[in-house]
């Protein structure tokens, strides 16, 4: 149960990034898992040089933000008007490139980023002992989600983004430079995944293909929660986390089967997702 919360929080953050990109830009970003992986590796490099977890955290997020911005400027923006298949192919291709570049640079041998020393041990929660760092993960992720929420719902940029999700043509007509906003959204969405990547690094050890399974899970989360819906991503993340961990306790082999079964159920009962709005693309 508790385990699910940790996994769910992480999934929520990654999926939030995925969903705002899709919601605003209409681009299905299959390189999102690679962003998650890049965040982890950027953090690892920063940690290796500074021995500071905080620096690693910031470096991971900022690096992926920059990668996201560069990706949008150099490649993705030419694909907004192209069919969805092209977008899928180009982001999928980019994902493969990123993974192989990292494999070439760092090798397949897994890398470890240790948690900050004060969060290393285990904490008694009364009913069970739990690694302190994993508790910290929940805290960090809640803070990050809160920041993302404030950005989306309490700032002018956020307003434009949300308006863009509803009707980007209209926003454009109102004289707002949507393309600049698009670039920012892509960067921020990627950063959410990168940040999750470095936060998650001490929990799992880093390998170049760490993002692959996460990508699939976060797509499921987005579908469950409702495509393009930020609260939906959070809710979907928590639900997916719980499904995986509760099923794992009973019979691990069925964890992912259950996840997809629930997704199918949601699609049948509420095709737009739990918090999705009907008719939105």
């Amino acid at each position: 149960m508790f385990n699910g919360l940790v996994l769910g929080a992480l999934l929520a953050l990654i999926s939030a990034g995925l969903t705002i990109i899709y919601g605003t830009l209409g681009v299905l970003n299959l390189a999102h898992g690679a962003m998650f992986m890049l965040g982890g590796y950027a953090g690892y490099v920063a940690y290796a040089y500074t021995q500071s977890f905080l620096v690693a955290l910031i470096a991971g997020a900022v690096f992926v933000l920059l990668v996201g911005l560069a990706m949008e400027r150099s490649i993705i923006r030419f694909f907004y008007q192209r069919p969805a298949e092209d977008q899928i192919l180009v982001t999928f291709g980019l994902a493969i490139c990123f993974v192989e570049i990292v494999r070439y640079a760092f090798g397949s041998l897994s890398k470890t980023v240790p948690p900050p020393p004060w969060a290393m041990g285990i904490t008694s929660l009364g009913f069970l002992f739990y690694p302190t760092y994993r508790l910290l993960v929940v805290g960090i992720v809640i803070a990050a989600l809160l920041a993302l929420y404030l950005l989306l719902y309490r700032t002018r940029i956020g307003m434009i983004v949300r308006a863009g999700i509803e009707d980007s043509g209209m926003v454009d007509a109102l004289g707002i430079n949507v393309y600049r906003v698009f670039m920012l959204v892509f960067g921020i969405g990627a950063m959410a995944a990168g940040f999750a990547g470095i936060v998650n690094a001490p929990v799992v050890s880093l390998t170049p293909d760490v993002g692959e399974s996460i990508l699939v899970q976060s797509f499921v989360v987005v579908v469950i929660g409702g495509v393009g819906s930020f609260p939906g991503a959070v809710l979907g993340g928590l639900i997916a986390g719980e499904i995986i961990s509760i099923t794992s306790m009973l019979n691990p082999a069925y964890a992912y089967v259950m996840l997809f079964a629930v997704m199918t159920l949601v699609l049948v009962v509420r095709p737009q997702g739990l918090l999705g709005i009907q008719g939105r693309e």
Binding site: N3, I122, P131, V203
Partner: protein, 452 residues
């Protein structure tokens, strides 16, 4: 063009008839003329990729190792062993000549060439790639696996295609047990020998009547190794299994399994996971405080394990393995091998690389002794039970199940402070001769199948 099924069928039938006649004619001829029959004695009918694969100046080997995914690191190490062996065989290196005395350069004077494909540790992918090597490149030997699921699948492919297969890393009892084949050979240790070797050592060190928890990967390797360990410990030392946590290969997170282990009241954790799964599950066991409460045992060691888990997590941990580089102090061939490998690749070889190297070296020996690439001759050469030289002393193949009889090495992780250099991760505790460790050849249901 109009299609004439009748005419086509007729012509095919004619062809068949003609072929039968020719074959019968050939037979009669051989019977009639003793001279031709002698001349053809070394000549064999076509079988598998014979003779097409060995008529030129070179022969081809198909190699499939995982280069991505959970077992990627181990696959790369294995591949380096293969590459070094090919280089040594083609140039007639001294080390190869010590293992295969009849080798000069190449095998039967033919240069070795090879192709490599990424198996992703998936049986389907491996079979697909090897089928391509067999049909397009006329491979005379196929190899590679770091997963027993792949080894078993390639065993079956080898038997069907009549092309020799030497298993890479494969720890399942089934590979030379119920899924053994005439065309498959295995060198490395496996569940049964691992358990029989490490069992007495851990009972001596940890005591009798212990409560054990297992972490087991969910496929043939995991199940048979877990079963062999449990069998030994429960029967011989009164241990009990309090939980066996079975996880899929490549599980992204072990927290739910580890929570179950933490709450099981076990005193010893036997981690059968392999590759990155082993690394991740051990690191996470540490995070969950399990390693402070339970003694960890690794029944089937993963190459690079100590390097990857880091920070002395394996200090005092017993593991069974195939090879560790400090054996160079005991075996001269190991010394030559470790030096040659280190010089070429810049690190000390792990057991996957050693095993890969020895596979090709012993294959060279088998073919040179057979004097031909004709598969049944090579198989019979393997089955002759010759004493063979290796990097772990004298070994031989058991003809009944094609398993190499070889020692199992028990190592114990060193504390970081006790390491003499950055690759000095283990003490070699014991080298246990192979004969006493093995089951009866038919105990796991091995029936080899036909030569042709």
């Amino acid at each position: 063009m109009v299609h004439h099924p009748f005419r086509q069928r007729l012509s095919r039938r004619q062809l068949l008839g003609a072929a039968t006649l020719t074959a019968a004619g050939g037979w009669l001829c051989e019977g009639a003329h003793p001279l031709t029959s002698i001349a053809r004695a070394a000549d064999h009918p076509a079988l598998g990729t014979y003779p097409a694969g060995s008529t030129g100046s070179s022969v081809f080997i198909g190699i499939t190792v995982p280069r991505t995914g959970t077992y990627a690191v181990q696959g790369e190490d294995e591949l380096k062993g293969y590459q070094l062996a090919v280089e040594h065989i083609n140039t007639g290196h001294d080390l190869i000549k010590k293992i295969s005395p009849k080798t000069s350069k190449g095998i039967l004077g033919k240069e070795l060439k090879f192709g490599v494909a990424d198996s992703e540790a998936k049986p389907n992918t491996a079979v697909q790639e090897q089928s391509r090597f067999i049909s397009e490149n006329k491979a005379v030997l196929i190899t590679g696996s770091t997963s027993s699921a792949v080894a078993v699948a390639l065993n079956k492919l080898a038997q069907r295609e009549k092309v020799l297969y030497v298993a890479g890393i494969s720890g399942s009892n089934d590979t030379t047990g119920k899924d053994c084949v005439r065309y498959g050979f295995r060198q490395c240790f496996y569940g049964q020998t691992a358990a029989a070797a490490i069992g007495p050592v851990i009972v001596k060190s940890l005591g009798k009547n212990k409560k054990a928890a297992y972490l087991t990967p969910d496929y043939t390797y995991g199940h048979t190794v877990q079963h062999s360990m449990e069998d030994y410990l429960n029967k011989n030392a009164g241990w009990t299994t309090v939980t066996n946590q079975v996880a899929p290969l490549g599980a992204p997170d072990y927290s739910s399994y580890l929570l179950n282990v933490a709450n099981s009241g076990a005193e010893v954790l036997l981690n059968v996971n392999w590759g990155h799964d082993a690394v991740l599950s051990i690191q996470q066991a540490k995070q969950f405080g399990i390693l402070d409460k339970m003694q960890l045992v690794v029944p089937y060691q993963t190459p690079f394990l100590a390097r990857e888990v880091g920070s002395g997590l394996l200090a005092g941990v017993y593991a069974a393995t195939d090879f560790w580089w400090t054996l160079e102090d005991k075996y001269p061939l190991a010394k030559t091998f470790v030096e040659a490998f280190d010089k070429k690749y810049g690190y000390k070889p792990e057991w996957g690389a050693n095993n890969a190297y020895m596979e090709f070296a012993l294959w060279a020996d088998a073919v040179e002794n057979a004097g031909s690439f004709y598969p049944p001759d090579v198989i019979k050469s393997y089955e002759a039970g010759r004493k063979l030289q290796s990097t772990v002393g004298e070994v031989y193949f058991r003809p009944e199940d094609h398993q190499l009889v070889r020692p199992v090495i028990i190592v114990r992780g060193k504390k970081p402070g006790d390491m003499k250099n950055k690759e000095d991760f283990y003490d070699v505790v014991e080298i246990i001769p192979g004969e006493g460790l093995m089951q009866k050849p038919d105990a796991f249901g091995c029936s080899l199948g036909s030569y042709t």
